[in-house]
């Protein structure tokens, strides 16, 4: 009874192909969503930090709402609710991308906000004393330091979020989890299939970690490390 038959997965070229495509889609969607989410998060953190009326309150509510509701509910709303409400139709991956980007942006915004708060006042005063304009001050002085200081938190948050992206298979995206569920439905070797999937997820997460660490070393080499 207790028999592991991993070969049923890897001897089938179609299954392997699906897994490979799943890995590619999972990785590319997550990375794209993270980049988009980061840009949105930057905006959210800045308006909240600068106390822009209305926008700051909106940013607070948005971040709290996203952080206190499950990703799957957000995804279902974005994939099934919004299109019906506004009358548009996108491919599945479009919904997934929008849902993930919205989700990521809230978590990143929270991290960036704490980074913005931690910037030493002297840095901004020095920039003012040099007569730098507001946007130059932000781009040249504030942003690089904030991003460098919160980069490790952003990295681990990103990895954590990546591990939750399997739920996009539930809205029809043919990601890694979707490939696994498909193979499972053909072979009924659930245990082997999901062990394989788990190993793939962990391997991708470790690869992400290594890449992001290399980026940290390369771009933020000037940073003082403890």
């Amino acid at each position: 009874m207790l028999e592991l038959r991993f070969f049923e997965i890897y001897r089938d070229a179609d299954f392997m192909w699906r897994l490979a495509e799943g890995v590619w889609l999972s990785v590319s969607l997550t990375v794209t969503a993270a980049v988009a989410g980061f840009l949105v998060a930057m905006g959210l953190a800045v308006v909240r930090n600068a106390r822009v009326p209305v926008l700051a309150q909106f940013s607070t509510c948005y971040v709290e709402f996203i952080r206190n509701t499950p990703l799957i509910v957000q995804l279902f709303f974005v994939a099934f609710g919004l299109p019906l409400l506004l009358g548009y139709s996108w491919p599945f991956w479009g919904h997934a991308l929008l849902g993930l980007a919205l989700n990521f942006s809230a978590y990143f915004a929270e991290i960036l906000r704490s980074g913005l708060l931690a910037i030493p006042k002297g840095q901004i005063e020095a920039a003012e004393a040099l007569g730098l304009r507001r946007h130059v001050r932000f781009i040249k002085i504030v942003a690089p330091q904030v991003i460098a200081s919160v980069y490790p938190s952003l990295t681990s948050q990103f990895i954590f979020l990546f591990l939750t992206t399997g739920v996009i298979s539930e809205i029809g995206v043919e990601d890694l989890t979707h490939a696994g569920v498909f193979i499972d439905s053909r072979t009924f070797r659930s245990f082997e299939v999901f062990i394989t999937l788990t190993l793939l997820y962990v391997a991708i997460a470790l690869t992400f970690k290594a890449c992001l660490l290399a980026v940290d070393r390369y771009f933020f080499a000037w940073k003082v490390r403890q």
Partner: protein, 235 residues
């Protein structure tokens, strides 16, 4: 309750609200069980992690690393589909959901608590030993009271992750808020379109999670552990 909601909101809406709210209780039960079970196993793993035995420490590190790296979704699939098929025996969704969420919670809680205990200066241990106290006596009388202060806020904060995590249990057929809500969203009934049901569900989840998030924030400020807390990253 059902009649009152129907009276207030009309036929499909009232019934739907009643069903959603009564399904929420299973979300709460599952979260509570996962938190308690995760706390228990997490506590044992923490003990193993700080114990004097090298192999035990290694095992605990491995456990924490392993289950922090495995996606919750995969734990659910493995316990809800994988293990039953492997054993050739049906497993109740309750058992599978409880097992996966407990394991998930235990790894995170163990990591948070390990960080809290190790944030206490080693001089405290040495002082205890100098007084002739044993491991558990030092732990109970000296270390834990101090570590509790550090660990409280992130522990409360993690309960939010557990509640959000339970929303995935519908994948293995667990009947909770998520499951019932999805069924309503798919039902061809006027007034329960996806753009009404899902925001409602989000509001219910929000009502469960937000007070806990606030409590965690309050504790961080109140106990003065803000920024000092060894946070396990959570989404």
């Amino acid at each position: 309750m059902s009649d009152l909601l129907v009276m207030l909101f009309g036929k499909p809406m009232g019934i739907m609200l009643f069903q959603l709210l009564s399904a929420t209780q299973y979300t709460i039960y599952l979260s509570a069980i996962a938190f308690a079970g995760g706390g228990l196993i997490g506590g044992l793993v923490t003990l193993a992690r700080i114990s004097g035995l090298k192999h035990l420490r290694r095992f605990a590190s491995g456990y924490i690393w392993c289950f922090q790296s495995v996606p919750l979704l995969m734990l659910l699939f493995l316990s809800g589909l994988g293990v039953p098929r492997l054993l050739g025996q049906d497993v109740d969704p309750w058992i599978s959901a409880m097992a996966s969420l407990t394991i998930y919670a235990s790894a995170y809680l163990a990591e948070v608590w390990r960080g809290a205990i190790q944030s206490i200066p080693s001089g405290q241990w040495e002082a205890g030993r100098a007084l002739g106290m044993r491991f558990f006596a030092i732990l109970r009388a000296i270390i834990l009271p101090q570590a509790l202060r550090v660990a409280l806020a992130p522990t409360v904060g993690f309960s939010v992750q557990i509640i959000k995590g339970t929303s995935l249990a519908y994948i293995i057929g667990f009947q909770d808020l998520m499951n019932i809500g999805r069924r309503w969203a798919n039902a061809p009934v006027d007034g329960t379109e996806p753009f009404i049901v899902f925001p409602l569900m989000a509001l219910i989840y929000f009502a469960l999670c937000f007070p806990l998030s606030r409590l965690a924030l309050y504790l961080e400020h109140r106990l003065g552990t803000i920024g000092k807390t060894p946070q396990a990253t959570t989404a």
